[in-house]
Symmetry: C2
Subunit: 574 residues, 2 copies
């Protein structure tokens, strides 16, 4: 395990050297950059890609996932995925022999470590390129595990997730390259006769990984939320154990299969990426997270388990990057494009039935109403206009399901059913009930359009709870000033992934930026077109801030990668 005397080379580094240059640059400028086309159009991905992807997905159903049988396993197969659209997937996966898998992961470290950051980055790019080729297969898998509508499954589960993976690779690569491999340090000095006699030392800086990295996936965005942790740890030299949500295994099984395939072909140990699947209720995440040899944990999911992870792993010195839950908030002050604003808001509420960690929940509107290009709207008028916009967007079942997808679990369905109770408890009013939509293809899918409840700003007890799914609160405030103060306070206390403001006043926008900074949440201003508050772009938009309780990290800044490796100096006189 001797440190290489020369910079390591590799065929994949030759192949992808140009890509590495591109992504280093993209990370620095943080302007728009995407490696993978987001359109599922046959003109982009090929005429047969969609069909082949569907066929490949269907080939996994009712089958053991044989391509992962090279992992250490006790021979059992696990899996209990049921599509939110109805059918049970019937796919099963070889249960991981955790002790053997961890030994294999450790044994894989030295060669991967000594390959150096550039070779690792090139291998990672190749993995993601190859994942990209399976985007349609993965899109179907994401759709039938998360309940996302198909186009979203393709985009968010495919190219957008892949771009986030590449972003993590870039961030990890650049971070490691900031450490020189070797320097000669020359300290001025004089000998006893007073002649210059500098002390010259060579110092070699060797990058070493932390150890085994555990990535715990979520149900709603199995790839998008797992790739950043997977690739940030992998590019910095750590072997990764991927523990998917028991209801969303397949998208990550395919991803891990590709990673292992590329690693093996590139001459590295496939044990650098391993899948730890489980059936519902097995509690494998806890078992894995408690192991002393897990040095890094990336987690997306519920706040209770997230807080437990932060405590127990934090206490033993493991790094923990969490994305939990929050109360995403929008302040409505005024607009010069009412239709654009309503359309944009309706879409943000509707997309995937609000089952995004970035979907808005709390809309603060002054009791006096708002000024618009169509005249003044009262608080109630605004609510009715927004309800109308949602209604128009989701009124036709066949079109609606292409935006709404299906509800992912009983909690979401229960939340969708709770609007009347919430309104009555809170002394508010149901502005729009959550409509039951019939899926034209999947009769068993439970599809719900967004509902809206109006209530008073005093009812923090109601609206500072996360009500995940198709539920929005219209919160009546005394003024925009109060709206902004509430946004800052509730985000600071309860967390948020996103915030937005609509105003024609520069003073209000300035105040909103301050409120967002005080709350510690990213702000979108006056979105009226095809950019939505729920969406962030790799390389340009940080996802999360790490500055409020919703997430302790952001995709992808230096803090997300800088501690995933350490630097060991050796020095000697020369």
């Amino acid at each position: 395990m001797t440190a290489p005397a020369t910079t390591p080379t590799h065929a994949l580094l030759d192949t992808h050297a140009g890509v590495l240059d591109e992504i280093r640059q993209a990370l620095t400028t943080r302007s728009w950059y995407s490696r993978y086309p987001e359109s599922p159009s046959p003109r982009v991905y090929g005429e047969s890609a969609a069909t082949e992807g569907l066929n490949a997905y269907e080939a996994h159903l009712q089958q053991p996932y044989a391509a992962l049988s090279s992992q250490p396993t006790d021979g059992a197969f696990v899996g209990s995925e049921v599509s939110p659209y109805g059918p049970a997937l019937g796919a099963t996966y070889p249960a991981l022999d955790v002790d053997a898998a961890f030994e294999a992961a450790k044994a894989a470290i030295p060669a991967w470590r000594d390959a150096g950051p550039q070779v690792r980055a090139a291998v990672c790019v190749e993995i993601v390129d190859r994942i990209n080729k399976r985007s349609f297969e993965i899109a179907n898998a994401v759709m039938h595990t998360s309940g996302q509508p198909f186009v979203m499954s393709f985009q968010a589960g495919g190219p957008h997730a892949q771009d986030r993976a590449i972003e993590a690779v870039a961030a990890g690569l650049v971070e490691q390259e900031r450490v020189p491999a070797s320097v000669v340090s020359e300290k001025p000095g004089r000998d006893r006769e007073g002649n210059p006699a500098p002390t010259r030392m060579q110092k070699d800086y060797r990058i070493v990984p932390r150890g085994i990295a555990l990535v715990i996936g979520c149900n709603t965005f199995p790839t998008w939320n797992a790739y950043p942790g997977i690739f940030a740890s992998l590019v910095t030299g750590n072997p990764v154990v991927v523990k998917p949500h028991p209801r969303a295994v397949l998208p990550l099984a395919i991803s891990v299969e590709v990673a292992r395939e590329v690693l093996s072909e590139a001459g590295f140990d496939a044990a650098l990426v391993q899948l730890a699947p489980e059936g519902d209720g097995q509690g494998l995440a806890r078992t894995l997270a408690e192991r002393d040899d897990v040095a890094i944990i990336d987690y997306t999911g519920g706040p209770t388990f997230g807080a437990w992870l932060e405590q127990q792993a934090g206490a033993r010195g493991a790094l923990v990057y969490t994305e939990k839950a929050g109360i995403n908030s929008i302040v409505i002050d005024s607009t010069d494009d009412l239709k654009g604003m309503l359309g944009n808001l309706a879409f943000s509420l509707t997309l995937y039935s609000g089952q995004m960690c970035t979907a808005p929940q709390n809309l603060y509107v002054p009791a006096d109403g708002i000024d618009t290009d169509e005249g003044h709207l009262s608080f109630d008028d605004f609510g009715d206009r927004l309800a109308g916009a949602v209604g128009r967007l989701t009124g036709d079942d066949t079109k609606a399901v292409e935006l709404l997808g299906a509800t992912v679990n009983d909690q979401v369905r229960s939340n969708a059913d709770s609007l009347g109770r919430l309104a009555s408890d809170a002394g508010g009013r149901v502005v729009l009930d959550s409509r039951r939509v019939t899926h034209p293809t999947y009769a068993d899918a439970v599809v719900r359009a967004p509902g809206l409840v109006a209530l008073d700003v005093a009812r923090e007890d109601v609206y500072t709870q996360e009500c995940f799914g198709p539920v929005g609160f219209l919160i009546r405030t005394a003024s925009t000033e109060q709206s902004l103060a509430q946004l800052a306070d509730t985000v600071h206390e309860h967390g948020a992934m996103t915030a937005a403001v609509y105003s024609t006043s520069e003073d209000v926008l300035d105040a909103a930026r301050d409120a967002a900074a005080a709350g510690g949440v990213a702000l979108s201003e006056n979105l009226t077109g095809q950019i939505f508050v729920n969406q962030t772009a790799a390389f340009s938009d940080l996802h999360g801030t790490g500055a409020n309780p919703a997430a302790n990290a952001a995709y992808t800044d230096a803090a997300f990668v800088a501690n995933r490796f350490r630097v060991i100096t050796s020095r000697r006189h020369v």
Copy 2:
């Protein structure tokens, strides 16, 4: 608190712009860089500097520290410092009214935050420059709180600590500057007619601090170990509360006084840096660390309290950077410069009576002995030769105290008295007892020269305990291979700040680099001159690795600074 539309300017930024360029460059190259001359020579610091510094120090004795009376206080004065050289200092400090101080710190944030990284860095450089002018005063304060000998107090407590401060400023500055202030992102697209219609968005990235930073100082290196945390937090926008060790308040009181003076003069709130002094046994560190509004903790000190900090603060999401304790280790295999090696080792063992977190404790030597330029030495011969070298270095009391300083506390004295018991318990031999040295000036000082105990490698129960102070273990191993394996294993398990190897074999040196990488500790190779394993240079040598239990961070890498601030994006169409 509006984000500034233009880059903030400041007179101190004009003054120090060139320095900022220099230190950015120095951090990138990691070659030798120092801003402050390490020689206490009158030719460098001025003919009267030493006398004035001593006078300034003495003016603090038996006095309340009035210059800090502008801090929020309940009117009480605290302080119980006693010089390890004998005299009680009699200095007292205004007790901090913690609630009021925290409110003041928070109120100070907005203007400091909005000043931007460059202005903050320039103000920090000015603070350190002004601290440098008080180096002799601080040197006396460090000497009479830590027990360091004077020249070391000057160097390590003065210019070397100041260089570490500047390094932290550079690291924090560069890290913030990696985030662009604003970009225009242009996503390609087409309108319905198929004409190019890119989506253009302006994205502003605003750097916000985490909150109140707590720095908990130590007894032995009150300034050197506190400055990195203080300046890393301050330059990234966080107000800092400095809690010195109750026995080493004065050096940090002077430093805080200077910081507050410069901040005020520069138009910022002095509450950005506050001193939280306490007398012995008050337990103020715990009280402060438990506050929810402490977002960052930097700690140097004992492992028990350090582990408690990591657990409780980690569990509530505060960042914790700790340096605790370790078992610094040296592998002796062979040398072509026996005298150089023995002299270097003797000095490392002797300096400040081994009371450095970087001082060697465990020396692994093969039972067969070692090859040298003076022929083969048996294990026992090597021990005797090393004992002789220590004896020559410390044989003359008057000269010895200039290297040894004074023992800092009863635990160190007890360790120095324990060699016979240790040897007898471990079935080993006292190769050199810890000699009692009489200080020619300070009769009450307890001064101890290093002692050496030889024992077998099997007695891990003895040598894997930290035996802080003038105690070295000569550990008899079966071979250098075993020595290296022990080094890796014990460091991995118990931690270490430093490691070294002596060998004429390139293969052994290579293996030592691997062992150091496996253990996660920096390695010095074949030091025979005026560079010692206990010493690291700012900007070039990382202090600690964060890769073993001795410390979870390193001075100063990106991981030490990247998470001390967060980035809040606001985006809008343009």
